[in-house]
Symmetry: C2
Subunit: 196 residues, 2 copies
Amino acid sequence: MARTSGSHSEITGPRILDAALRLFAQQGYAAVSMRKIASEVGLQVGALYNYTPDKQSLLFGLMREHMENLVAAWREEAQGGTPNARLEKFARFHIRYHNVRRDAVFIAYMELRNLTPENFEIIEELRRQYEGELIAILAEGVRQGDFQVADPKITAMAIIAMLTGVNTWFRETGRLSLKDVEDIYWDMTRRAAGAS
Amino acid sequence: MARTSGSHSEITGPRILDAALRLFAQQGYAAVSMRKIASEVGLQVGALYNYTPDKQSLLFGLMREHMENLVAAWREEAQGGTPNARLEKFARFHIRYHNVRRDAVFIAYMELRNLTPENFEIIEELRRQYEGELIAILAEGVRQGDFQVADPKITAMAIIAMLTGVNTWFRETGRLSLKDVEDIYWDMTRRAAGAS
């Protein structure tokens, strides 16, 4: 692949991240070398080190960006309302947001094993923030008598796993639209929360 | 590591599979060489090829064995009863069975990308068999008026994702026993099926 001389960092940086994301998702973090990432974007491996100190930083950067953007996007979406309305918004948001970010979702779960302990703890904290948003909705719904949930934390984990699972089977070309899928999963989410 | 000369194939075969499972789960299929697997069990790499033709066969063998055993174990457990009783049995079985096979479960989802198309199709067929067991329970419950489910297939996928998710967070040392977790997840499964 030709070396792209004179490319600007504001273009090259995102291209490196895109390439790393795609390669990590396809082949796994451990199987992808810095040389392979450099080659994918048409850089000498030495030039790649101008953008990132090492492969761990690339992986951690991708995972942190994914989790931070997820939390920020949800907080922008969440605008008050009843616990039931917020729960519905969460279920639909989670499915839509993750459906168009399959590589990032795959990596965010699968490559946790390859993070350093310090980086792992930062990603886990971001994940807890996101889970905490759903736990808060469930707990508020219980407080107001709208939901029947024995353990909001466990129910939140279960709902998130259920919703994320859409990524493993949903295809745009299938018999259901994403809107159909959202409707069905919202109904199951509502039931899991014991919504009245 | 010392070479274990004179080991018998009935001992060495399972040791190779155990080592391959552990290494694939820890490092990812693409990062694990046949040499590394051989070294892990104290064999020369040439001797490893007496047991398995290649790394793909090891991966496929592990995944097929996991899925075949899962389907067989469930069919042994399932012994008639009402749809509600069978659904409860399925939820508890799924959690217990997967909880003690974390490496195999991790690989069964994560390394699908590394199967040849022919092998992928065989694993997918086994997965469909297992999902089919739950779909049949849900459909029978709907037919008998016990469950309210708009789409048994989608509900089955959602329930399986929810139950499998226990593996990502449950630890024996946590505040809940596996029995507590089973109870909570059975309750959510029952609700998701709209059980009366």
